[in-house]
Amino acid sequence: MIQIQDLKKSYGDLQAVGGISFSVPQGRIYGLLGPNGAGKSTTIGCISGLIEPTAGSVRVDGHDLAREPAAAKRSLGVAPQELALYEDLSASDNLAYWGAAYGLRGAALKQRVREVLERIELADRGKEPVKNFSGGMQRRLNFGCGIVHRPKILLLDEPTAGVDPQSRRKLLDLVRELASEGTCVLYTTHYMEEAQEICDELGILDHGELIASGTLEELRGMLGERDLLRLAGRFDAARAAEVLGVFEGLELVAVEASSLTLAMPGASRQLPALFGALGEAGMEVGETTLTQPNLESLFIKLTGRELRE
């Protein structure tokens, strides 16, 4: 349903997206995971036709976005990261307007507006101006405006950012429902737990580059069964590499004067030996963080940074 091929977007010398490729089939949820500024929103902008790519191609439901923009856009639904609602209009008016913008009309439009209001649990507030809604309600309506015309492909750009836990749960359930009904979903987030929970496939984006891609299992496999160990204190890079080389399966991920990041199997069992080796080499450990293998640890392994940095 979505096929992205070598997509690039530059603003002068700044490369926001640098040649990424991926595809998402019908009924699947593809997550683009990455820190703020990684290029997720730019990618969504290019796919939705809001931003003109510098190079590459985007095919949506079999239509090339550059050549057949109207046909491609008809299959797309978008819930942007920033709320995009007419605050002085009611929830019903907003849904009716966006439905009409995609060609719905008459009784079918009215029926669909009622259905969506039910689905996003705003049926009893449908006539109220949106400006009276809480942040979570506005988020749900923002999502509702993206699905009112029953799109085949749904682009969700951080749909749960700044949302209360209840609304977040509701939105995640809705996304899963839509995927089970056959909608193809492209979902961007910087919440690792969210991505792990709902995405069938993931791409990890950093500085505009897709640094890893695959199912959750495939990505975990990249990290192996190793734990991620982060130590804070006083370290020497050369000495650390020398003394830690004796530990089997240990990989030095990043070394700085005040921190040391390493991946190793069964790290909790090997901690006393590890501290002893570092201490004998004149290094001090002040704080220790042990993480089981997950997307966060994979991101740290791939970039040396935390996902939320």
Binding site: L50, V78, P80, A84, L85, D93
Partner: protein, 416 residues
């Protein structure tokens, strides 16, 4: 689908405007407010009596002739432009000080006698310095009165003297013989003047040199078109900020992600502005027709023209608004344009009151061009060729700015 969406987008914007009824009422009420102010300032036809000069007369002579003058003046009807009121000197001076009268004349002791004997006498007229026109009327009227008294004395001096002196020998009444003699004498003098007075030997014929120019029907008609287009300028400027509002709310971007496209979206905005402009034109014309007695035949053509021509102002202000790098910069740009257009386009004062060079420039401004034709349509004195040319110019102007807005809105404005 696109045409249908244009209508849907226009309705959406109109619904949004309805949610802010104060702004909507202000726009709709602008021509009413301006028209009302105009009415107050110029006191339009049928709305009040002709102003009258109030002349205070102090009779210190109390003679037959002075009382005759005071009595005749006090009994003058409403259609006479001078109202004469007999007062004491102190009261008269107080009224002049308070600005309640246009002038004060004192008929001094000996006024009647001097008039009858033809001796010199000085009359003093005190005028109200706060008034400009009415005291001039009094001055002119008194000059004529003095001239009339001089000729009356020359013609009928002896008879008037005899009447003023009263019945001879202390009698209460004139004898029939005296009355008959005086009447015969007056009749004799009038018969001798018959060839001069009836008809008068001198007559005036007024001839206007050069081509007579058609005069506007009334002052309201002169000022109203500019005022209506002033309201339209305000609407165009007020609604132009909407693109910035939609961009900041993210709805502009969301519209661009829909299949209908930017042109349909902008046309929707234009259509919503057109509805507003047509409503303001209709309300303004209805009010103007009531207040200034506009000819009925010109109202509908003027409505059509006003609704069409006002539309050209919308893309002008929208384009300027999105030329700014920020919303504030856009507002400054539109305000900078608004004032020269108001001044040159005949919205603050009519072309008739402008220097020639300003008229030449002003009639080429969009609002100036539009309001000139609007006035001609109201007067029922429009050159169809000129109307078509002006319509073509405004259409080309509006279309060019619409395409510039389209280009800018989908390009740098969106990316900024």
């Amino acid at each position: 689908m696109k045409l249908r969406f244009v209508w849907i987008a226009a309705l959406k914007d109109f619904r949004r405007r309805l949610k802010d009824p104060v702004a909507l009422l202000l726009w709709l009420g602008l021509p009413l407010l301006i028209g009302g102010l105009l009415g107050l300032v110029i006191d339009g036809p049928g709305s009040g009596a002709t102003p009258r000069a109030k002349l205070l007369l102090v009779d210190q002579d109390e003679s037959f002739l002075s009382e005759l003058l005071v009595g005749a003046g006090s009994g003058a009807g409403e259609d006479v432009p001078i109202e004469i009121v007999s007062v004491e000197l102190e009261e008269g001076l107080a009224q002049i000080d308070e600005g309640e009268a246009s002038g004060l004349v004192v008929l001094p002791e000996g006024f009647g006698e001097a008039l009858l004997e033809g001796t010199a006498l000085e009359l003093e007229l005190l005028t109200n310095p706060a008034q400009r026109i009415l005291p001039k009327i009094l001055e002119e009227a008194l000059t004529m009165l003095v001239d009339a008294a001089f000729y009356l004395q020359r013609v009928l001096g002896a008879e008037l003297q005899a009447l003023a002196a009263g019945p001879p020998g202390g009698a209460s009444f004139f004898t029939n013989a005296v009355v008959a003699a005086q009447a015969a004498s007056i009749n004799d003098r009038l018969q001798r003047l018959d060839g001069v007075l009836f008809p008068p030997l001198l007559d005036f014929e007024v001839e206007v040199v050069g081509e007579e120019e058609p005069q506007p029907l009334n002052i309201g008609l002169l000022l109203f078109p500019g005022m209506l287009f002033l309201a339209m300028l305000f609407i165009a400027q007020g609604t132009s900020g909407d693109l910035w509002q939609e961009k900041l709310a993210g709805t502009l971007q969301r519209n661009l992600q829909a299949p209908v496209g930017l042109a349909a979206y902008l046309l929707g905005k234009l259509l919503s502005g057109a509805i507003l402009i047509a409503a303001v034109t209709a309300v303004g014309l209805a009010f103007g027709a009531l207040l200034f007695d506009f000819p009925a035949a010109g109202l509908f053509p003027a409505f059509l023209w006003g609704s069409f021509a006002g539309l050209a102002l919308l893309p002008l202000f929208s384009f300027l608004q999105i030329l700014g790098s920020t919303q504030q910069a856009g507002n400054v740009l539109t305000t900078v344009l608004l004032f020269p257009l108001m001044m040159l386009g005949g919205s603050l004062f009519p072309f008739e009151a402008m220097p020639d060079w300003m008229v030449v420039v002003g009639q080429w401004t969009p609002n100036g061009l539009a309001s000139a034709r609007f006035q001609e349509l109201l007067e029922g004195d429009v050159d169809l060729g000129e109307l078509a040319r002006s319509g073509g110019l405004l259409l080309a102007f509006g279309l060019a700015l619409f395409f510039l807005t389209l280009r800018r809105a989908g390009g740098r404005f969106l990316a900024s």
